[in-house]
Symmetry: C2
Subunit: 319 residues, 2 copies
């Protein structure tokens, strides 16, 4: 079996990968990509591979006749999420898996960190030296809240949403999730039922991936449906939000605030209006990050590699 | 029944109190105190009261012959937590309750906000515009973590600890709590067993109240017992920490960081060394704060008032 890996890995992770796939052959590109999400260049070695681990180039996949399985190092899979690619994969019997399990827990932690960062007013409170009893102190305390009993709408019902729902359980919140094709899950609605859910939600957590159907999903119309004073969070993809409309909703005070781990583009250019809005809080796409991430990615791939060798169903299969 | 209230209340809360106690009589001090935690001045009206709601003056309590019940508007009760006061209360059959239920959930939320703020590196990440793949970006992602499977020691096992333990359940952490007099609870240890617990903990959450036994409890010796790279949190009282020793532990890199909602004094003077330590994060005693706090305080008092009138056991009784 030949595995082509264009994954950017730390030395310990690379070591783990080499040991884990032996005695099978591991091939690397001549010009490694610059980031986990960047696609690699077409590479001559690719055509001999049975398995690709990383972010393989679309034209290289198309040309390859041996490839049977692609394991992506990201949770998002925008460049593969097209009708053309899906039909190519189906026609060839090409399996595609992603690494959503690797990032889901850290992403859910990040979403809850945002929600509690808002509830406890951390950005303001960490800057304040207000004396007990001062007007600033009363404003901070009165601006703080508990998440208990509040309502949240989660857009996108995948691995991250499932983890987040577990973390929110002790807060006894009213949780509604939106999914394109619900399968009868409890408190899961279709986009049709979103207007009334949005109008009742204190928190709207967007975990939508980027694809033709989700681009610009959070637009002026949907922002106007939200409850006045709601908080908007994005740990999905920046392209799913109309950022101009978001700016307006924040400036007008319609939304209390926005907490974004993703933007379009990343990072935002220095003069972007979202950067100067005081109630917009942005982290630079670090939601899935965690110590030894590269090793977790390799371990997840190796688990799937063993299942693949055994002909068993793969985990995190997306096609 | 005569109720003396020196509580600092919002107008809606005061209204609620007046309606709630009617037809009983409500008396107020001539010179209201400056904050919820500040004690009031002795007041002539106090001597006629059966019930005190607020932070009544010790000498006024001593002089009063009618007083049967004190309901404190705080969770902390330092000035009443002395052998002298306890024996006076016992001799007089004076009941004392506090408002810990009012603050416990918001305090637990604040503690988890701190823990996730650390795990997701929020103070750094919210300041960063790092591009994907840059060294700064990799450092941020690798510095981030999930709380899952990590260990935490909670110092003080009261209402806040119980709430925090509920919130931490989905993270499947190893939780050990320390209590002066454990009553056979699971994973609760005495101070004697603390050294080995501290040496194994990734997180140490201090919720100790201020009293003669807790003052300076987190000293150089106990800080030195902590696991290298541990994170220290304080949402108890500032006086329970030797701040000079904490500065040293942060500067030397022994501790990863400290997240403090309480300090000694509050606020810290402008030139205090803790303020210039980059891995020390401080909020100004806002952990218990929440919207309509004053109304929650009154509702909690009124619940106890009805129990008192019925001769039923009071909630949050501390003496």
């Amino acid at each position: 079996m030949i595995i082509f890996s264009d994954s950017q890995l730390s030395d310990p992770a690379l070591n783990l990968l080499q040991k884990g796939v032996a005695p099978h052959e591991l091939l690397f590109p001549k010009n490694p990509a610059s980031s986990v999400l960047a696609k690699s260049e077409p590479d001559p070695a690719f055509s001999s591979a049975d398995i690709a681990f990383g972010q393989p180039d679309l034209s290289a996949i198309e040309k390859s006749r041996r490839l049977r399985w692609i394991h992506l190092t990201s949770a998002g899979f925008t460049r593969y999420d097209t009708a053309e690619f899906r039909s190519l994969a189906a026609a060839r019997g090409l399996m595609v898996t992603n690494s959503s399990t690797v990032y889901a827990q850290a992403c859910a932690d990040h979403a809850l960190a945002f929600m509690l960062g808002h509830a406890r007013q951390l950005p303001l409170a960490l800057q304040s030296r207000a004396a007990s009893g001062s007007p600033e102190w009363f404003a901070l305390r009165n601006g703080s809240s508990s998440l208990r009993g509040q309502s949240v709408v989660i857009l996108g019902f995948g691995a991250i949403a499932l983890e987040l729902i577990k973390l929110l359980a002790p807060f006894q919140m009213h949780i509604t999730s939106m999914r394109r094709n619900p399968a009868g899950e409890r408190n899961v609605i279709t986009p049709d039922a979103l207007p009334s859910a949005l109008s009742a939600a204190d928190h709207v957590v967007n975990i939508l991936p980027d694809n033709a159907g989700s681009r610009g999903f959070i637009n002026a119309e949907r922002l106007a449906m939200m409850k006045p004073g709601a908080v908007f969070y994005n740990i999905g993809r920046g392209t799913t939000v109309d950022q101009e409309a978001l700016c307006e909703a924040l400036k007008s005070g319609r939304l209390d605030s926005a907490w974004l781990d993703v933007t379009d583009p990343e990072p935002l250019p220095e003069n972007h209006p979202l950067l100067s809005i005081p109630n917009c809080f942005i982290t630079p796409h670090t939601a899935g990050g965690h110590r030894n991430e590269s090793e977790t990615l390799v371990r997840h791939f190796l688990e799937n590699f063993r299942l693949f060798l055994d002909g068993a169903p793969l985990r995190d299969r997306i096609m």
